[in-house]
């Protein structure tokens, strides 16, 4: 079947086979390689996207269910250069292998959209669904706190 939705502001039509996940369709049909696949079971958050205004794991979304929806990937949160979160993560060295980074950027960008001045606890809660196997989170939290503190 063909599924039509808006991807980072543009209308797209994607070929969807049976129960394919939205993550597979984004990567394999639409060449959108920002969302990563690590666990395929909702545990790691590396596939995080914004679907109709809420951050979700695209590996758990039935692609057919995306019909008519609005999808934003990391490519879409940073159109026109890096956003403040990405700049801060670079500055703090919050990226090592980078596999978790797109998901973290998506989840954090959504957090700052609704809470421009999140506390440390709010930052940690917002990232509870994003696993990073490299950094130990310290640099990521520091980067986001610097954005929250207006240093960016």
């Amino acid at each position: 079947m063909i599924v039509t939705f808006r991807l980072n502001g543009e209308q797209v039509n994607a070929r969807v086979a049976g129960p394919a996940s939205l993550l597979d369709v984004l990567r394999d049909e639409l060449g959108m390689y920002g969302p990563k696949e690590a666990c395929s079971q909702g545990e790691c958050g590396s596939c995080s996207i914004v679907l109709d205004g809420e951050v979700v794991c695209s590996c758990l979304v039935l692609a057919a269910d995306a019909e008519g929806s609005e999808v934003t990937t990391v490519e879409g949160v940073s159109q026109g250069g890096l956003n403040a979160i990405q700049e801060a993560m670079l500055r703090e060295g919050a990226v090592q292998c980078g596999f978790c980074t797109p998901g973290i950027v998506v989840a954090a960008s959504k957090l700052f959209e609704t809470h421009p001045r999140p506390t440390r606890i709010e930052i940690k809660e917002a990232l509870a669904g994003n696993i990073c196997r490299c950094t130990g989170y310290g640099a990521i939290i520091r980067a986001l706190e610097s954005v929250a503190g207006g240093e960016a």
């Binding site: 996940s21 079971q41 958050g45 039935l62 019909e67 669904g129």
Partner: protein, 235 residues
């Protein structure tokens, strides 16, 4: 989706429910099956909202629905203790009609419900009036993204009537009538009454030992958790 991603299931036909607006309706005590944990966390009654807040992660709560929690019928489902503690019903529909299934007839075993072929969960129906105080608690190995070792809801009404429902400590969510009867009779429970309540809860649950915990630990934790929740209701 997880089972599909891992090739454990290859369904030929799938039914996408995300865009069925009717299932997202929430009117008073009738909550549509496609209502997400995120919404329950923000708009639900006390103990149900507390349970919602512990489900998975923000991503999981934004997508996961109360209908999906029931469809899975996991003994560890965090939404079940509230439904059991307030005697909620599950509304189920098929091409031929709708029926209301009391919670204790809905759950029949681990990951098994009485849902029939061709039936869809359409809503959760809470009683018209909820008990005055209620609280949810969960014991797990960390704060986020954790399947309950024990989860529980205790309710206490103005007349002292108390209910306690626990998950992850039996084949389905369960109530402990002996503990409920004993404590409901005490209008101002003493230290000894609280200890007896905890003992009866530990005695009344039916946990197993598995990769997540042992029978003994779950039994102990169930009593401690239920007592703490009761103490919060009494405060």
């Amino acid at each position: 989706m997880v089972e599909v991603n891992f090739g454990r299931r290859r369904p030929e036909t799938v039914v996408g429910l995300r865009r069925v607006a009717e299932l997202k309706e929430w009117e008073g005590n009738r909550i549509g099956a496609a209502v997400t944990w995120r919404r329950v966390e923000r708009e639900g009654p006390g103990a149900y909202a507390q349970a919602a807040r512990t489900v998975g992660s923000p991503q999981i709560r934004n997508a996961g629905t109360i209908g999906g929690n029931l469809g899975t019928a996991s003994p560890a489902g965090d939404g079940h203790p509230f439904l059991a503690a307030v005697d909620a019903s599950i509304e189920v529909a098929s091409a031929t009609g709708r029926r209301l299934v009391p919670w204790n007839e809905f759950f029949v075993g681990p990951k098994r419900s009485s849902l029939q072929q061709g039936e869809l969960i359409t809503a959760v129906v809470l009683p018209e009036r909820l008990p005055e105080r209620h609280g949810f608690g969960k014991v797990g190995v960390r704060n986020a993204m954790v399947i309950s070792t024990v989860c529980a809801v205790v309710t206490r009404d103005h007349d002292g009537r108390t209910t306690v429902a626990l998950g992850s400590v039996g084949p389905t969510v369960l109530r402990v009538p002996a503990a409920e009867e004993m404590i409901s009779a005490e209008s101002n429970p003493s230290e000894a009454d609280l200890a007896e309540f905890a003992r009866l809860v530990s005695e009344g649950v039916r946990p197993i030992t598995d990769h997540r915990s042992t029978e003994q630990y779950r039994r102990h934790a169930a009593g401690v958790l239920a007592r703490r929740l009761l103490e919060r209701c009494l405060r």
